[in-house]
């Protein structure tokens, strides 16, 4: 209760006319066993507005929306849609009430056309052709009236991500959605696509559709929403009018303390070239060329950022550099060691050269989820003599090592025997980072260091990356978060469709130019 009173003054400024409330959630409580995912959460959404919901991972945003969409039932509390109390026990019920949901991961069939996807689940009987033609008319009418142009016959797999998202939105609208919930919609978009999405959201608003936008990017909240609700630890901490607040204030409410946004860093002092990539090509088994003639170098004491929309070859680049994918064409020179197709090195050997790797997907690569923390603290280094006593692993030494690095890197809870699956995303990432940094590498490869990580941990991780750089480590940073690339890197290369399409010094970089490069518009 007390948390709700923080912004009482501001709440009064909300036009709380019950006439205009399209959605009311009152005292929603949801418990998963001993975990209180939603604690007495209330939310009012006013018709025809864009309402942002922010909060860190695990704050309860997704749970709340899942309750709204009928995936879960709340233990307590009521939901009112159009001033009428309703019970939503399935997604069909939610749809029939006019609630639409665009998930973070699109729920589209890639081999189906746009039209087929739009009527999926709403086929009206067993004969498809009749429905298809009427659905086509409806789709064209909808897309005209909202300015959402799509080709009804295009296959989803051939459409860019931004278009696919459009199809998701149309799918919801075609079911008569009056309230549209978008869950982290910009995660996979270029800055330009994000702009376009915001344009769409604004035009939806003009047509009277209410939009609920779930995100962790505060810039987007400021750019597009009318109201913003902040969640923390399962509670609704504050409801604000967007134009009366600031990113700093929202961040503070989210985290519960002050957050530093600007990253303090000195000018870099690049040393010797430690990594040299020459003419690297990679073609996958299906004939798709994922790396095209990659050339770049990386010096000691600098951070080289690799920008690009996810899936443009960055993952394959990291995998090639760390030895997971064998080099077929071209070469990589790590200090004095040249690696090429006749002289392959596996990840173990590359690690021995002083290359550490924080992988993009920590849950499938960086840690083994069912392992205990202490076991994960030596993954990739477990063959080293220091962890073995004769033929046996030195388990007590490994335990105390884990406690040691958890202390240094603030991994919580600091418990050697806890399964890593039970750590939060941020703490899993800190564990991986701790292990890789503690191996005292010369070159550090980092993929998506802050994906799914809470703000507090992001700050911490960024600080450590800068510290590594200042200590003369060569850091290669791959991230789809352009802000992260721009604030951490000294130089930036941009990848599109497997190619390096541009290189800029970060002090000269601006978001728009990089965005165009990412989209492959300018070369």
């Amino acid at each position: 209760m007390s948390t709700n009173q923080i912004d009482k003054g501001r709440e009064k400024s909300l036009p709380l006319n019950s006439q205009s409330k399209i959605l009311e959630l009152k005292n929603i409580t949801k418990r998963f066993g001993p975990v209180l995912a939603n604690d007495n959460v209330s939310l009012d959404v006013i018709e025809g507005t864009i309402h942002g919901i922010v909060g860190e991972n695990g704050a309860g945003k997704s749970t709340l929306m899942s309750i709204l969409f009928g995936f879960y039932q709340s233990d307590n509390g009521i939901i009112k849609v159009f001033n009428k109390e309703v019970i939503i026990n399935s997604s069909q019920k939610a749809i029939s009430l006019g609630i639409g949901m665009v998930h973070q991961h699109f729920m589209l069939v890639p081999t189906f056309s746009v039209l087929e996807n739009v009527i999926l689940g709403n086929e009206n009987g067993s004969i498809l052709s009749k429905n298809l033609s009427s659905a086509r008319d409806k789709l064209i009418k909808l897309s005209n009236s909202f300015g959402l142009e799509v080709n009804p016959d295009a296959l989803i797999q051939n459409l860019p991500v931004g278009m696919q998202q459009r199809v998701e939105i149309l799918k919801s609208l075609s079911r008569g959605a009056k309230i549209l919930v978008l869950d982290e919609p910009t995660g996979v978009l270029t800055p330009q696509e994000t702009e376009a999405l915001f344009g769409i959201l604004k035009s939806l608003k003009e047509q009277g559709v209410t939009v609920i936008l779930i995100t962790h990017k505060l810039k987007e909240i400021m750019a597009v929403t009318d109201f913003v609700s902040v969640m923390r630890n399962g509670k609704m901490v504050s409801n604000l009018v967007t134009q009366n607040t600031s990113t700093g204030e929202i961040a503070e409410l989210m985290v519960g303390r002050k957050v530093l946004f600007s990253i303090d860093k000195k000018a870099s002092q690049p040393g010797d070239t430690l990594l040299q990539v020459s003419n690297l090509n990679l073609t996958k088994d299906d004939g798709h060329q994922v790396l095209k003639n990659i050339n770049f170098h990386l010096k000691a004491g600098e951070i080289l950022g690799v920008a690009g929309v996810a899936g443009n070859g960055q993952s394959e680049l990291l995998d090639s550099l760390s030895g997971i994918l064998p080099i077929k064409e071209g070469s990589i020179k790590i200090m004095d060691q040249e690696i090429f197709s006749q002289n392959e090195m596996d990840p173990k050997e590359i690690r021995k050269l002083g290359v550490s790797h924080v992988p993009e997907d920590r849950q499938s690569r960086g840690i083994v989820l069912p392992f205990q923390n202490r076991e994960n603290s030596i993954l990739g280094f477990h063959y080293l003599d220091k962890w073995n006593k004769g033929i046996f692993l030195d388990n007590s030494k490994i335990s105390s090592y884990l406690q040691n690095i958890s202390e240094q890197f603030d991994v919580r809870p600091n418990n050697p025997f806890l399964k890593s699956a039970n750590l939060s995303g941020g703490n899993q990432q800190k564990l991986v980072l701790a292990r890789e940094i503690d191996s005292k590498p010369k070159i550090l490869l980092v993929g998506q260091p802050t994906r799914g990580v809470d703000i507090g941990a992001i700050e911490f991780i960024h600080k450590h990356l800068i510290e590594m750089r200042d200590n003369g480590v060569a850091v290669l940073l791959v991230s789809v978060e352009l802000d992260e690339i721009m604030s951490l890197s000294d130089r930036i290369i941009v990848m599109n469709n497997g190619e390096i399409v541009g290189e800029v010094l970060s002090k000269e970089a601006n978001e728009k130019d990089i965005g165009l490069l990412m989209a492959g518009v300018k070369s």
Binding site: P34, V35, G366, H382, N395
Partner: protein
């Protein structure tokens, strides 16, 4: 957030399996009642038959030994997420390993040397038989389930051929080798007990039981206390993480299959070296397949496997007694009980979790209030 509740460990490894087991026995009891017999009486007959009557315990532990070997074999492979269905064939070929060493050397070397060589022979032959599917999986991507099943059939055909045409004792009708020289074999426990003045009935229980216990300790140490075990578990839980960590995946697969096959091959030590003293057809009698159920029930942990093996050993021995005692109950009843146990503790292993979870949360809630 939407994290599923983790139950306390004792519930997961003790209470739930016991509930599953109880359900299997209740259903079995209903079937026995439907046959017109008293299920409680049947249960008492079974338990007496497995533990109480003279010599029954020896038989029970003798069966247990076989299940321990095959259970450990399946469990070890499963830690690397390899489903070794080939325990049956590996055990069978293990028998060939015993026979090769015993038949060729028993007249030339000391008996105890021959016995040690034969034990190695069993494991090496079993390992080799598992290595081929392991190689095919690691290097060729042929699915281990398919290849190990095929290798069971190949092993069976090979043994028939060899026993009928090659190593059969000349001048005799049944497909068996000659007996090994007297003294080439493992000490049977009742002989040892009688030697120390403890009178006991003759049973097939022999020193292999101790080998099985040593093998359990070996597997436990290997999996949780060595580099190789770390590799195996990493591979089993996440192949992508294994690649990331620089673990040589094909090599690890082949090593795991070798050790798994060696463990299965040790069944031949119990059967051939401990009991029959000659190689004969079909001595594996399905132990390799039951090992899958044993590993499943034992949650792939050596202690669990010991308990599960003891249970299946009890069923084997006590089931024979059921057959003997009741005219309406045949030995196949044991298969049904086994089936129900596998159904409830394997396929429906998590049936009770939500209920137990709810009860537990209510209890905790009440305590807190």
């Amino acid at each position: 957030m939407s994290k599923p509740v983790t139950l306390p460990r004792w519930i997961d490894i003790l209470l739930i399996p016991l509930l599953n087991l109880l359900t299997a026995f209740v259903v079995s009891g209903l079937v026995i009642a439907a046959l017109g017999e008293n299920p409680f009486f049947a249960l008492s007959v079974m338990i007496k038959g497995a533990f109480y009557y003279p010599g029954s315990l020896g038989y029970t532990l003798y069966y247990t030994t076989n299940f321990m070997f095959t259970g450990l074999a399946v469990a070890l492979a499963f830690h690397a997420r390899l489903f070794n269905i080939g325990g049956e064939g590996q055990a069978y070929i293990g028998g060939l390993g015993v026979a090769v060493f015993c038949l060729s050397l028993d007249h030339y070397l000391y008996s105890w040397i021959v016995v040690i060589l034969a034990i190695f022979g069993a494991s090496i032959f079993g390992a080799t038989w598992a290595l081929i599917p392991g190689y095919l999986q690691a290097k060729r991507g042929s699915h281990i389930v398919i290849t190990t099943i095929m290798f069971n059939f190949i092993a069976a055909s090979l043994m028939v051929y060899l026993l009928v045409n090659v190593i059969i004792e000349p001048g005799q009708m049944s497909p068996e080798t000659r007996d090994f020289k007297n003294g080439v074999g493992l000490l049977q426990i009742h002989k040892a007990l009688n030697f120390f003045g403890i009178p006991s009935t003759a049973t097939p229980l022999n020193l292999s039981f101790l080998i099985a216990i040593l093998a359990s300790i070996f597997v436990w140490l290997l999996i949780w206390h060595t580099k190789l075990g770390y590799d195996i578990r990493t591979l089993g839980n996440s192949e992508t993480a294994a690649e990331y960590a620089g673990i040589n995946v094909p090599r690890t697969i082949m090593i795991v299959m070798c050790i798994s096959g060696a463990l299965a091959g040790l069944v031949a030590v119990n059967e051939i070296l401990g009991v029959h003293n000659r190689l004969l057809l079909g001595f594996t009698a399905g132990y390799g397949f039951t090992g899958i159920a044993v590993a499943l029930m034992g949650r792939n942990h050596p202690i669990g496997i010991f308990l599960a093996s003891l249970l299946f050993g009890t069923l084997y021995q006590g089931g024979a007694e059921l057959d003997f005692e009741f005219s309406t109950i045949t030995r196949e009843m044991v298969l049904m009980i086994q089936g129900l146990i596998i159904l409830f503790s394997g396929a429906l292993a998590y049936m009770y979790n939500p209920i137990v979870e709810k009860i537990l949360i209510n209890l905790i809630g009440k305590v807190k209030d």
